[in-house]
Symmetry: C2
Subunit: 116 residues, 2 copies
Amino acid sequence: MSPREHTHPAVEDVELVAVLSALAEPTRLRIVRMLAAMEGERAWRDIDLPIARSTLSHHLKILRNAGLVQNRTEGTRCFVSLRGEELEDRFPGLLECVLACRDAGAADADGAECGL
Amino acid sequence: MSPREHTHPAVEDVELVAVLSALAEPTRLRIVRMLAAMEGERAWRDIDLPIARSTLSHHLKILRNAGLVQNRTEGTRCFVSLRGEELEDRFPGLLECVLACRDAGAADADGAECGL
DNA sequence: TTCGATATTCGATATTCGTCGAACATCGAA
DNA sequence: TTCGATGTTCGACGAATATCGAATATCGAA
């Protein structure tokens, strides 16, 4: 289909288990890190990951349904951004401390490995 | 088998994705909440959940491998406890804000529903 | 209108996950 | 030693998930 309007769950309807599940997958965590590292939105088209576009669409849908991410449509293209403040309201500190952590296996938003 | 000694990962080897995966399952989250609500250890035998004992063993293994929980063996029985301080060292604030949240679907440690 | 770009959905596949009961291993007590 | 209690592992099952390529729907431009 096309970048049609999507529904986003209300903040109060966002569930913890859904958020944790969404974050508990390396590719999705990487997407979240990437979005967090840029203050603003990111063009769908410019999200460059070593996965098929349909797979990317799938992961973004899960992040969207979990309340982590929101889409904005502009013509035939769309932009993705983190629902940072809303998440902070719902689960204070959660996103922040997940992002703060950089373990050995945590790839950087750009794809490079990160020591600390 | 029996409550034999288990290996626990070193704090520095605990991975974020493993922790999030472990917490992203209702039964396991409930176990963690229960352990957090009691300051100390809990006898395996006394963990009362509506699942088979083998399933409980499975979930505890996942929590253990993720670094969230530790086992202590005493004779033929064992005791489970949260690795609270170590988790705090590794991922500051994470466990705390996960536990702080009580969403609509979050069952209490005792099994009762909890409004707030 | 026709076409190309864009993102989603569909169908298929392989894998992982949660669950159970049964079998097993270990320890302490009789 | 024999037994019972206690957890763990095994084998099996269905459900959920990650992945891909192909098909599809929508928009903007030619």
